[in-house]
Symmetry: C2
Subunit: 132 residues, 2 copies
């Protein structure tokens, strides 16, 4: 059989860890988008402590604007990482919590956080060496 599995009509394919991807529709990029956003990971890590209300997140995630908090929460909910429950109190309150998918993701994510803490010094030094 041919090497590049299912290469149709000039679709270019990259092999990553034994799996074929096209530049578009790349699961890796799709997931990394959640890691990439400026606030996404911070919010997920904060929710790892337990369910939180909107205002609690606003307090605990420093310097995030209301706009970004709302938007990022909606993105995370849309992708299934967190759930959103509205309590019809007066005034209303909304509670956000990790889903199973979100917890599963954090399990993989946390080692990356740990690695960042451990190797940030080496990276900053590499930068200084490169710039000088």
């Amino acid at each position: 059989m041919d090497k590049q599995a299912g290469t149709l009509e000039g679709e270019r394919v990259i092999m990553v860890m034994g799996e074929p991807f096209t530049a578009d529709n790349c699961p890796v990029r799709d997931v990394l988008a959640n890691v990439a956003g400026k606030w996404n990971s911070l919010i997920l890590l904060t929710l790892d402590e337990g369910p939180k209300r909107f205002s609690a997140l606003r307090r605990e995630v420093p310097d995030i604007s209301q706009r970004m908090l709302t938007q990022t929460l909606r993105d995370l909910q849309r992708d299934g990482y967190i759930s959103r429950e509205v309590f019809p109190t007066k005034p209303p309150s909304v509670e956000y919590a990790l889903t199973d998918l979100g917890r599963s993701f954090l399990t993989i994510m946390k080692p990356l956080v740990t690695w960042s803490l451990e190797n940030h010094g080496a990276i900053r030094e590499a930068r200084r060496a490169f710039d000088g």
Copy 2:
């Protein structure tokens, strides 16, 4: 002792995995920037197969522009993830390879790739459910 360790002069602090961060100067964000770029992770994963020349990377990473390949490679080199060796042949050739730091990073990165492959379906389904 006080809760928020070392909160000075209105500097807001977030606790993540037992470590205090400010919104600026956050190691996690700094490292995630490397994961976030559109091409960074793909290049690192390609180099995991072994050292490659510029033109080889251009071939194996589909649809990347020359500009982005050059730029991303320089960023990765600057942060110490890859090395760059110039062979004064005619015409010259340049070989890129993972450093120890790069390999260390990939060790942590790969589970995230695996997770992406396994859970991409669930995420796309969550999206459809949310949108509909």
